[in-house]
Symmetry: C2
């Protein structure tokens, strides 16, 4: 290992550390080879150091003004852009994702940093609530402390080091110890150096952000069990999220885990819409299934139709279309193996292959599978997520059976319905069932593509996420890292600006039940 | 048992049921005798019936308009008042609480029903967030389903059958299966009949509310483990709340538990304020400690001072004052026994008795105890809650030691500081430490008295409540029973009124980042 390089080390606050002896390397999917750079796994001592520094930094960082934190977030965005092509090239090498996709993902990353900066600068997000005069009660959201955040494999930029969770936590006023995903350690390192430059440029406290590397579950578990951590954010597999949840809820002092654990994102196609434009929908659906080689949390892994001639034509179009789709490299050999195992397991359980692309070595083959509604109702495990470019068709005998399937679904990030206006009006009850199952309901669209906006919900009932009341995309994500506090009978000189009579920040507040920007 | 009486039975939706053979009776603290009325414990079959009915009712109830739900809540308030003196007399017999206190508690109960009715009628609470045009995303809060709610021993009206948790859940659109506290089953029955009349009067679905009785932990555990339950709300002991939390987080599908598990509500007295008005503060503090025989979640069970002459005078005033305080009957023999054991255990651990009232048979004796800061730092368990009219004085050697004690405190519902203006400005850092520990910070007041308002926070970091982000008092309590859902690209005719372009409900909404009541 090159001892003179900082790449490969932990970043503990603004300093680099390489105490451990265990090293690992990232795999380049397109080249099918291990990359040369070695990364050291963090020792528990290094994680302790990062957390201690984060706890110290929190005492300073929580008192920064929204403007200061916004400048910090803006600076992170600028420093990410300053990394230039190197970041994109390294991310592409480590993930196998194409350059244009990663350029777009970088835009998404800097865009969400700027959106959160604007949100906290505007300031109304703190949900100030004031009731007077006796007692004088003034409530607002405050940050909860040190957060432990995990990078996702499938978004090396937007759900990784400077991604949505980090941005929301920093915007709220929390400090962050970030566990890099071992599939893209170099990308993570580069992004962390951008954050480091932003910390130094904007005079943020040393320790507001740290990066640790690790390949073992123990590293993550150590973080989730640590007394200095106040919340965990995670995007990944159900198994990984559940393990963190179990640890965090069994601590002496339990902490929340905001785990986005994936979903099969069912898409319901009603017969009338298939009659109108089944062929076009087949093409669009296959694009959604195979976008990014199917490596999205919102990949439509399940679609449901009712028997009929128009459905048969749609299915035939899908069958023909899937055979012409390109194979794709997946993020890691482990993810490819899990995909192939997932498909094989379904086939062993009697699931029919509706169609698949011609296989290619070391690549994921787009596949459409098919079961009857009866099969799924008997064995709900058939609907579990197979992460990758496949989708399982549930062939219902009737519209009534579609309802039965819908009622039996597990919690989902999204649920989608395609129907004509007449069908949608007729099947409002189906939409109503799906609303109980998912965080986002889509009409005549596709679940892939998760806009970062004030109104997005990227979350949903278990096992999609925990807890269902959170979102990991959009500005409402900030509330995961906050709690309300009430100041009773505080003299003016002790109140935070958000709660002062004069409303110096000019934010929207609820004062004795009325919403306004008025002073008291 | 009188088979012709409905009192003593479960109320499963609008019908009464007495399948079980196990019966119990309530204890009358003032008379020190068991009351004659027998109550049947619910069978698991009865709980199943209540939950199945609640799940069916939810499919209807969640679609009621806010106006319909508000009318229901108003009707409950009216029917509670229609119960007249009988409710107050029965509650007093079962709890030993005086009539004026219970009349006030009834006002609080009907007041919070009306406050929630007004809140949902106004409608902005749903936090509508809209971003357009592509994609068209519209987010709002929706109810989470069937809730299991537990009555508290110490508020037979305001934190019981039609109390804050039930009101918040019903306001949100959730249905309720309520587990009555066995200390006041008759009060619970009467209140349930008031809700039943309101259900019938306002045409709410049968099963929107059910009442079950039980004395065993198994009844509560059965509810928390039941697949039809989406959330639990509880007010009571740490042990009880923790047991429900453990069950709920270890289910196949975990659910949130909103447990308010009590607190010692530390009160810090700085030297300057004691110099100015130590004697008056001593009187007020003793009133707060012994209010309701100390049976409040916000009872100040801990107070902290720094050594000095003014502190000595304050302590002497307390010592003299406590000797003149009246004894009081506690809610149940079990609670009295726990109080006496708690005091005895502290004394065995070397805690000094600062002063106590003369004892009286079967009553709780107001007691002030004292330890040094060093003792508490060595043995933090000394600070655990002893529910009743006692408070533990932590005698710190210096202001610095006060800070050390503050930093080591567990999570609390409240924390209070008494100080002169000069002291408060000088010790902003102490307030800052306490803000991390509690949901409500009080300046120059006392924690007892929890106003039901839009701005109240009755919650705080573990072990005060779980999760810290909730409140069980005030209108923000409604958010515990909701989650956000996002409607993407919905045609106008499928959108709920809150999210329609025209804003027919005239609620405050966030549209593309701007807050207004405008239509799109």
């Amino acid at each position: 290992m090159n001892r003179t390089s900082l790449t490969g080390l932990q970043m503990i606050g603004n300093n680099f550390s390489g105490e451990g002896d265990h090293t690992f390397r990232a795999f380049a999917p397109l080249q099918q080879q291990w990359l040369p750079q070695e990364f050291r796994e963090a020792t528990t001592g290094e994680i302790d150091s990062a957390l201690n520094l984060a706890a110290q930094a929190f005492t300073v960082y929580k008192k920064t003004t929204p403007q200061q934190r916004a400048a910090f977030l803006q600076a992170i965005a600028e420093e990410i852009i300053s990394l230039g092509d190197e970041l994109i090239n390294v991310a592409s090498a480590e993930s196998g994702l194409p350059l244009p996709r990663l350029q777009g993902e970088r835009d998404r990353t800097t865009g969400q940093l700027r959106l959160f900066a604007a949100t906290i600068t505007e300031g109304s997000w703190v949900n100030a609530r004031i009731t007077t005069p006796t007692p004088d009660l003034r409530q607002m959201q405050i940050p909860i402390g040190v957060t432990g955040i995990f990078g996702a494999s499938n978004f090396p930029l937007a759900f990784s080091v400077a991604g949505g969770d980090t941005t929301a936590a920093l915007a709220a006023g929390c400090t962050v110890v970030f566990k890099a995903h071992p599939a893209h350690p170099h990308t993570s390192h580069l992004t962390a150096t951008a954050i480091r430059k932003a910390v130094l440029r904007t005079n943020m406290p040393d320790g507001v952000f740290s990066l640790v590397h690790g390949t073992s579950h123990e590293t993550g578990q150590y973080l989730a069990a640590h007394p200095l951590v106040s919340a965990i954010a995670f995007t990944g597999s159900f198994k990984g999220g559940k393990a963190l949840y179990d640890t965090a809820t069994r601590r002496a002092v339990p902490i929340p885990v905001f785990a986005e654990m994936g979903s099969v994102n069912p898409v319901f196609f009603l017969p009338g819409i298939l009659r109108e434009k089944g062929t076009a929908l087949a093409t669009q659906f296959l694009q959604s299934v195979t976008l990014g080689t199917g490596q999205f949390c919102t990949n439509p892994g399940l679609f449901i139709t009712a028997a009929g001639n128009d459905t048969d034509a749609f299915i035939n179009a899908l069958r023909q279309g899937v055979g012409t789709l390109p194979n794709g490299y997946m993020l890691t050999p482990g993810i490819l193996a899990a995909y192939n195992n997932g498909i094989a397991t379904l086939r062993e359980q009697g699931v029919e292959v509706l169609g698949e692309a011609p296989p290619a070595d070391q690549q994921a083959t787009p596949s459409l599978l098919q079961v009857t509604a009866a099969q799924v109702l008997e064995n709900p495990a058939l609907c579990h997520e197979v992460f990758g470019p496949s989708s399982l068709h549930i062939h219902a005998g009737s519209i009534e059976e579609i309802y039965t399937v819908a009622r039996r679904l597990e919690g989902q990030l999204t649920a989608t319905i395609h129907g004509t206006e007449e069908e949608l009006q007729q099947h409002a009850a189906l939409i109503d069932i799906l609303r109980e199952k998912a965080g986002r309901i889509i009409i005549n669209g596709f679940p892939t593509g998760v806009a970062v906006s004030h109104a997005m919900v990227h979350g949903g009932p278990w096992p999609a996420t925990t807890p269902a009341a959170g979102t990991s995309v959009g500005t409402a994500a900030i509330y995961r890292f906050c709690r309300p506090v009430c100041y009773q009978d505080f003299p003016a000189y002790l109140l935070p600006p958000e709660l002062q009579d004069e409303n110096p920040m000019k934010i929207w507040r609820q004062v004795n039940g009325d919403i306004s920007k008025n002073s008291l």
